[in-house]
């Protein structure tokens, strides 16, 4: 059974398009990335799933239940972390977290120990007033309130902004632990390296439509390698003319730069005959892949 399944999910804000015919199926135990530039429709999709806005077309199920009719029941098992965090200013961290926990059917003692455990791990002072917290610390409150009821589905809408790299790593580790315990994760971001680090599969969204859904691992396999060479003396371009699977060849003085996908031995044979100063073989990051898909579509 798919944990999240959407069928031609569509949202118009008046006349302007939010998302169009979004089809997603996210499997149990998956860490699913949702990536696209700002305004592409990531938040719209997530807000529909969370019942904050209503779809104008299509349907969606979570845990096999229709989101329109089983909202509260579904949300019992979802941990949601929005990108912007706003809480009741007059509350202390502990009050807010207890208030958050009080909505769930879980045993208050379990929630209390989760709060303790998570706040220790995230290094957050529970006695402070929310109002007095720094942006990064508010984000930590956001993370803890989303995880304190041990949800089976974690939905994150650009949750990492404002976290320092160390804390971000801790946060990702935490998510991985939850994932190993069986939680499914939907992770939306416009930062590709984040998604690359964490996710199994990723949906690329632009202009309100899903362009592609791809496995992160297959992306890396099937994708071009970037090869950079620096020679002692300028060489004859023709040496590379018959190389199969090469693209984007540039030569600038002693530097050679090209993308390659094919038999790596073919490259090494040519390179073996050169007098090299330096050589780099790089995996292009998702950013490049991403641009690749966008360009293809256009």
């Amino acid at each position: 059974m798919n944990i999240i399944e959407t069928n031609k999910l569509t949202k118009y804000y008046g006349k302007s398009l939010g998302i169009l015919d979004v089809n997603l199926s996210i499997k149990k135990g998956e860490i699913f990335g949702f990536i696209g530039p700002n305004g592409a429709g990531k938040s719209t999709t997530i807000r529909i799933l969370m019942g904050l806005i209503g779809a104008t077309g299509g349907s969606a199920t979570i845990f096999g239940k229709d989101i329109k009719h089983f909202g509260p029941e579904i949300k019992e098992e979802i941990g949601y972390m929005p990108s912007e965090v706003f809480y009741y200013d007059d509350m202390k961290v502990i009050d807010l977290l207890r208030y958050s926990g009080s909505f769930y059917k879980k045993d208050p003692k379990v929630i209390e120990s989760r709060i303790k455990e998570l706040s220790d791990y995230m290094d957050l002072d529970l006695r402070k007033k929310i109002d007095d917290l720094s942006y990064g610390n508010k984000k930590k409150v956001n993370i803890i309130q989303g995880l304190l009821h041990e949800p089976k589905l974690i939905i994150l809408d650009e949750p990492t902004g404002g976290l320092d790299p160390l804390m971000q790593q801790k946060f990702f580790d935490l998510l991985k632990v939850e994932n190993q315990k069986g939680a499914t994760i939907l992770f939306s971001s416009h930062i590709l390296s984040e998604v690359q680090k964490l996710c199994d599969r990723v949906a690329i969204i632009k202009g309100g439509s899903i362009i592609r859904v791809v496995k992160i691992s297959s992306l890396a396999d099937s994708i071009y390698k970037r090869i950079k060479l620096e020679t002692v003396k300028p060489i004859d371009k023709k040496k590379f003319a018959n190389l199969k699977g090469m693209g984007g060849f540039t030569m600038n003085g002693n530097s050679i730069n090209f993308l390659f996908r094919g038999q790596i031995n073919d490259v090494t044979k040519i390179i073996a005959g050169l007098n090299l100063k330096n050589m780099l073989v790089e995996e292009p990051d998702l950013e490049e892949i991403f641009m690749h898909y966008y360009k293809k579509r256009q």
Binding site: Y13, S43, R47, M50, G51, L52, I53, G54, G71, P72, E73, I74, K75, E76, I78, Y80, P82, E84, F86, Y87, Y88, D89, D90, Y99, S100, S102, F103, Y104, K105, Q145
Partner: protein
């Protein structure tokens, strides 16, 4: 229950504030009552010089003004004006405060239906108003018992006191409705102040031109003190009018809010 207690906690300060204001108005007015009731004939003469329109605008009835009931009904005019603000702020604040404080995302992504959110908040605010009114009525009745020169009929007196609650319920439900209908409420007072004053002005205006029908659209005039003093009950047709309006306001609020799009924070 969690939302209920959260709401009670949020508003306990302001409820205490409003309750004190109401009690203060009653105390000040009743302190003046003894000197006022000593010279009834002199005052009656002075008041007769006032045009009828002015008298009715200020809810001064020559028939009953000089009794403790009439005097109390007169001061209730001011209390209910303030009370309308209290109620309307509560009604508007229920949902608008979550929206304005941007906590609405937090609340509505919890496992609770929107209808339950409104219900919890509605019960909490009604209870706050009931508490306000219990204190206000008790303080008023005690003061009246002390200052009244004649024997006091507590039924009549409490019926007049309870008009505050009746008016507040109207403005509570109107506030709730407006908070759902209006797109984005930046300041609650900016909505409640003109609304309450408009209703109050309509009432005063209606009394001046003497148009009876205007009473139907004005909660301040639903519970006429002379009628209560003479009949020891409310005018039933206005109770029905208010009940219909209140139920309609609340029902529409539930209906609209359950479908409302909660826009992302920008």
């Amino acid at each position: 229950m969690n939302i209920f207690w959260r709401e009670i906690k949020t508003y306990r300060g302001s409820t205490l504030f409003w309750t004190s204001i109401f009690c203060l108005i009653v105390i000040v007015f009743f302190m003046m009552y003894s000197s006022f009731s000593n010279d009834v004939t002199g005052l009656q003469k002075t008041l007769l010089h006032f045009p009828v329109a002015v008298r009715s605008a200020f809810n001064i009835s020559m028939q009953s003004f000089f009794t403790i009931y009439g005097y109390f009904a007169y001061l209730i005019t001011f209390v209910s004006l303030a009370g309308a603000f209290q109620a309307m702020n509560l009604g508007l604040g229920m949902l608008a405060k979550e929206d304005g404080g941007k906590t609405v995302d937090f609340l509505l992504t919890k496992p609770i239906s929107r209808n339950k959110v409104i219900t919890s908040k509605l019960i909490a605010t009604v209870i706050l108003l009931i508490l306000t009114n219990i204190v206000f009525s008790a303080v008023s009745l005690a003061l009246a018992a002390v200052f009244s020169t004649t024997s006091l009929n507590s039924t009549t007196f409490l019926l007049i006191a309870a008009t505050l609650f009746m008016i507040q319920i109207f403005f509570l439900s109107l506030g709730l409705l407006l908070s759902v209908v209006l797109p984005k409420i930046k300041s609650i007072i900016a909505v409640s102040l003109p609304t309450v004053f408009t209703f109050f002005a309509i009432g005063a205006f209606g009394a001046i031109i003497g148009d009876e029908n205007i009473r139907y659209i004005n909660p301040f005039k639903y519970y006429d003190s002379n009628f209560i003093i003479n009949n020891k009950t409310y005018d039933l047709k206005f109770v029905v009018v208010e009940a219909i309006l209140v139920v309609a306001f609340i029902w529409i609020s539930y209906l609209l809010y359950s479908k409302k799009d909660i826009q992302a924070i920008s």
